[in-house]
Every structure is written in structure tokens, then in C-alpha cells.
């Protein structure tokens, strides 16, 4: 019979490994983390035993700032959430405010928004998938496809004048109609990008090295993924066909033909494949949207005088327009009391806006449901028992964007 002290000593000896685990700080400014966040990993040799994330390095208190801003001034804040696909965030915010104010938007505006959002999704997936290539050691594909992301930014530039943080559109529609160059450039994109992307896919999809690095790394089951709040391509890679564009169509997505690709194992390779296929589906949607926009009368905003700024020429000549202009800029709009949750399918998951209005000029409370803040929790579980080099690949394939993580 052991005494108590002997028993405790035995336990301690059992808990202490012969060689202590190595603590490794991956981040906060590690080039391979693609953003400022830290992972403190415990390593047994090169295998990961546990990990803990530290986030909040670029927290900018957007939710607090939003409580002191009129609705239209919050759009630039949303740019800075997922800055790889800022137009989706902008459109999501406009849709939320329109839902609160009860503005019905013409179909053509919906289609214009769909076109912009799908371009943004393509740009975001180009970044994520080509960087996944970089992290597995294939730099060529990245430099090759990045010029097309640049090209999408040129299209944004024609639409709104900005490239990265777009601040695109307004509550009620767009500030101006798409000019002919937008259609010209989009048509060029639809014609010349697919062969490039096919080439990129042929570099990686059946590449032995890439497959060995990504298959079975960072796999997660559907149940665990749901429990961890996964959404977007990461959840679909686990085999669940949950896409807000299909199950809860917003912005007239029900008028478009597209498929929702799903994976099977939820590993890094499946996430890569799902994103690849989503790019093809987005191209289909853009093509349909373009045809629809061009065949309709050039309406680009809702008929909502109280919320949508009057044309500038009117402001200078017409008293009523001047008054509306002043009132809207000062934020003096009649917002109803109420609360709205509106979600859009962002490039990396369900991006939700929970807006509570007490009738004031600014939100009483605004909460962003940021997809990657929620699913990044699963990261230690996904890399447990894997190699250090896999940790980089898994993080990259999760598409964690620091701006969205920290809001």
C-alpha cells in the first residue's frame, strides 16, 4: 500500500514528460500567419501537443464607434472587417439598414449588388487558395493569379473609385450607375480569367506534393464543425450544404442558377477544392447578373427620398433637395425602433449584423457576427498531433482574416 505522498510523487513523475515540451510562439508578427495573431504552441519534437490562440492585436472597437455614427458612416467601418472582400461587407450592411428602414430595392440594384459580391468572392478565394499554394511551397501560381485579383480591383475602381476598402454603394442602392468600362472589364475578366484559373488548378489539384501536404491535415467532422460554429466554405468542406445564398436567399439570389459545392472529409484539401469550385459558380452568377443588368432600365437606387441622397445638381437648384441632403448628411433620418439580424454569405462564412435601433440617428447597439472569430476557436483541435508545418497550412486554409477576427 502506497502512502499518500508516494502516490502524489508518482503522479507528478507521470505528468512530467522526460523531455519537457517546447513552447513556440507562432506570431504575432510571423509572416506565415497572414495577419497579427499569436499561437502559443506546445511542441513534442515537431508535433503539436496543444495550442492556444491570442487574438485582439488589431482590435479597433468598431462596435463602440458605431454607436456614435449615423448609419451611412458605418459602411467604411465594415470595409475593415474582412478587407479581402470588402464589397460583401458593405452590401451586407446596406441590406441590414434597408431591412430596418423597410426600403424595397429595385431588382436591378439587387443584381448589381450580386455582381459586385460575386466578384469580391472570387477575389477573396483567389487570395486564399493561391496563398495556400505559397504556404505549401508553390509561389508560381500565386504570382500568376494575383494579377486577376488586381484586375477585379480595377473593376471596383470603376464602380466606386476605391480598391481595397471600397465603401461601395449607399443605403438604397449605388451612388451612380455602372459605367460601360465596368461591363467591358467584367466581360474581359469572364473571358480571360477561366483559362488562367484552370491552369492554376492544374498546378495544384493533382500535384503529388500538394496533395501529400493537404490531405488529412486539419480535418474536422461535420458535428464538431457545427458545434464550433463553422460556416461558409469551411463548413461545406465537411459535407454540409449550408449556403445562405441558397437556404435564405437575400438580394434576389433566388433568381440565379448556381450549385453549392460540398466536400467530404473537411480537411485542407477539401477546403481548397470547395473554394475552387465556388469560383466557377461565382463566375456563372456574374455572367447571369451581367445579362440581367444590361437588359433592364438603368435604375440604380431605390425611390427613398428620406434616405437616399438627392443628385448633386438638384441640391444646388432645388430647395427640397438641399434640405434632404442636409438632413441625410447630418444623420437626421427617421429610423424606426426595432432590432434586425441580417446575415449574408461572406467569403469565409456567415457574416451577420445585429442592429438595435432606438429611433436615434446612430445604432443603439451594433454587433458584428464575424465568421472567422467564431470558427478560429477550433484551430488547436484541428492541429493537435500534427506537424508544425501543417499548422501553417491549416491556418491558411481556414481563411482567418485578422481584421475580421478582432473587429
Amino acid at each position: 500500500m502506497k502512502t499518500n505522498q508516494e502516490f502524489i510523487a508518482g503522479l507528478e513523475a507521470f505528468e512530467k514528460p522526460e523531455i519537457p515540451y517546447t513552447t513556440l510562439n507562432l506570431g504575432p508578427t510571423h509572416p506565415a500567419t497572414h495577419g497579427i495573431f499569436q499561437n502559443v504552441l506546445q511542441l513534442d519534437g515537431e508535433r503539436i501537443v496543444t495550442g492556444e490562440q491570442t487574438v485582439g492585436y488589431i482590435h479597433r472597437a468598431f462596435e463602440k464607434i458605431a454607436e456614435r455614427r449615423p448609419f451611412y458612416q458605418i459602411t467604411p467601418l465594415t470595409d475593415r472587417l474582412n478587407y479581402c472582400s470588402a464589397p460583401i461587407n458593405n452590401m451586407g450592411w446596406h441590406l441590414t439598414v434597408e431591412k430596418l428602414l423597410g426600403i424595397a430595392v429595385p431588382k436591378r440594384v439587387d443584381y448589381m449588388r450580386v455582381m459586385v459580391m460575386e466578384l469580391a468572392r472570387v477575389a477573396d478565394h483567389i487570395i486564399c487558395n493561391s496563398i495556400l499554394g505559397v504556404d505549401t511551397g508553390a509561389l508560381t501560381g500565386f504570382t500568376y493569379v494575383y494579377q486577376w485579383r488586381e484586375f477585379i480591383y480595377e473593376i471596383y475602381e470603376e464602380i466606386c473609385g476605391a480598391r481595397l476598402t471600397t465603401n461601395m454603394g449607399r443605403v438604397g442602392g449605388f451612388e451612380r450607375d455602372f459605367n460601360p468600362i465596368v461591363f467591358e472589364k467584367t466581360r474581359k475578366f469572364l473571358k480571360e480569367f477561366p483559362p488562367v484559373w484552370r491552369e492554376f488548378e492544374s498546378l495544384l489539384t493533382r500535384n503529388r506534393i500538394f496533395m501529400d501536404r493537404t490531405i488529412d491535415t486539419g480535418a474536422i467532422t461535420t458535428e464538431r464543425a457545427l458545434n464550433y460554429g463553422f460556416t461558409g466554405p469551411n463548413l461545406r468542406a465537411c459535407g454540409l450544404d449550408y449556403d445562405l445564398r441558397a437556404v435564405e436567399p437575400y438580394c434576389s439570389y433566388e433568381d440565379f442558377q448556381f450549385d453549392v459545392p460540398v466536400g467530404t472529409t473537411g480537411d485542407t484539401y477539401d477546403r481548397f477544392l470547395v473554394r475552387n469550385e465556388e469560383i466557377w459558380q461565382s463566375l456563372r452568377i456574374i455572367e447571369q447578373a451581367m445579362l440581367k443588368i444590361e437588359s433592364m432600365d438603368p435604375i440604380y437606387h431605390a425611390d427613398a427620398d428620406h434616405y437616399y441622397l438627392p443628385p448633386k445638381q438638384e441640391v444646388y437648384r432645388n430647395m427640397e433637395a438641399l434640405i434632404y441632403h442636409f438632413k441625410i448628411i447630418m444623420g437626421e433620418i427617421e429610423a424606426p425602433v426595432g432590432e434586425v439580424y441580417h446575415a449574408v454569405e461572406g467569403a469565409n462564412g456567415e457574416l451577420g449584423y445585429y442592429l438595435i435601433s432606438d429611433g436615434g440617428r446612430s445604432p443603439y447597439r451594433l454587433h458584428f457576427r464575424r465568421p472567422c472569430f467564431i470558427y478560429y476557436q477550433a484551430y488547436p483541435e484541428m492541429v493537435r498531433g500534427q506537424l508544425l508545418s501543417d499548422a501553417i497550412v491549416v491556418m491558411s486554409s481556414l481563411n482567418v482574416i485578422a481584421g475580421e477576427l478582432d473587429a
Binding site: 485582439g56 482590435h59 464550433y228 435564405e248 444623420g331 426595432g338 439580424y341 451577420g352 446612430s362
Partner: protein
């Protein structure tokens, strides 16, 4: 599934009657007492006809003017089977802001509860690791409470009056 059917299911399983209400935007709302929260969420999760398996969002709200229910925690749960969202709310007094943690049901609640604690100081009882997440650990205030000033409090051009309150 209508609100009445869900009310009936909850009455059968929890033995308490709950009043669901539809808001102007078609989302079901349910206001709960703090001690009912965990049981109701567990039933919503477990019930084979409901299957609210997804916690979409969890956040806090501060209402300084409501006596003894100054802080509110809002849960958005989602049933992929019914394609329905449900919004649950609990109110707690600011002197004793204690809410049971739902991390046992939804793993995703872990960081969301930490975030809510970080900004509103709501204590989630039973949370495995209730620490600040976005702000630094040394911080003492809870910055999303209304009394925490965003701007220089001496500035008059940013007074509440100018925001219609």
C-alpha cells in the same frame, strides 16, 4: 413550424409555458429568466423535431435605464432542419451579472462568452476559461457599457442630444 407548435413542444419537455413572439421582421423572440435559460436551450438543442444545433450569435446589450435588468444577453440559435432562427434574451441586474454558460451545449459559445464578458462584464457561470479576449488583461473597465466614454467626455458636439437621444 409555427410559434404555437414550438411553445407546445417546450411546454411538454420543460413543463413551463414560454411565450414566443414574432417581431416585425419575422424572427421569433423568446424572453427567459436566468434560471430557465440553460434548460430551454438544452431542450431546443436536444428535441428531435427542433434541432437548434447552431449558435449563430451571442452578444450583450446595456440598458442603463432599466432598473434591475440593465444588462441583456442575446442568443441567436438556428435550426438547419426547420430553417428558422430564434432569438433568446435574458436580462440580469448590473450588480450581479451572472448568466449560466452554454459552452456545454455549444462549443462556439466559448469565445463569444469571453467577448461578452470582455465588453460588458457579464459573468458566465461555468465557463472553462473566462478571461478577456480582445482587450488587454490589465483593463479594468467594460468598454461597451454606455457609461464608458468613446470620445473626450468634455466634448459637447458629441453629446447624446445630437444623436437623437
Amino acid at each position: 413550424m409555427t410559434t404555437e407548435q414550438i411553445e407546445q413542444l417546450l411546454l411538454n419537455t420543460t413543463g413551463q409555458s414560454h411565450q414566443l413572439s414574432l417581431d416585425g421582421y419575422g424572427v421569433m423572440n423568446l424572453q427567459l429568466k436566468v434560471n430557465q435559460l440553460f434548460g430551454v436551450l438544452l431542450q431546443l438543442y436536444k428535441d428531435p423535431e427542433l434541432e437548434f444545433h447552431f449558435l449563430t450569435d451571442l452578444c450583450g446589450i446595456h440598458y442603463p435605464d432599466r432598473k434591475d435588468e440593465e444588462l441583456c444577453v442575446v442568443y441567436h440559435v438556428h435550426s438547419m432542419k426547420l430553417r428558422t432562427r430564434l432569438r433568446l434574451k435574458v436580462y440580469v441586474p448590473i450588480e450581479k451579472p451572472e448568466v449560466p454558460s452554454v459552452t456545454g451545449i455549444y462549443g462556439s459559445a466559448n469565445w463569444m462568452e469571453r467577448e461578452t464578458y470582455d465588453f460588458f462584464g457579464i459573468q458566465f457561470v461555468g465557463h472553462p476559461n473566462l478571461r478577456r479576449i480582445l482587450n488587454m488583461d490589465e483593463m479594468e473597465a467594460f468598454p461597451l457599457r454606455k457609461e464608458f466614454p468613446l470620445e473626450d467626455p468634455m466634448r459637447e458636439d458629441k453629446a447624446d442630444f445630437h444623436f437623437g437621444r
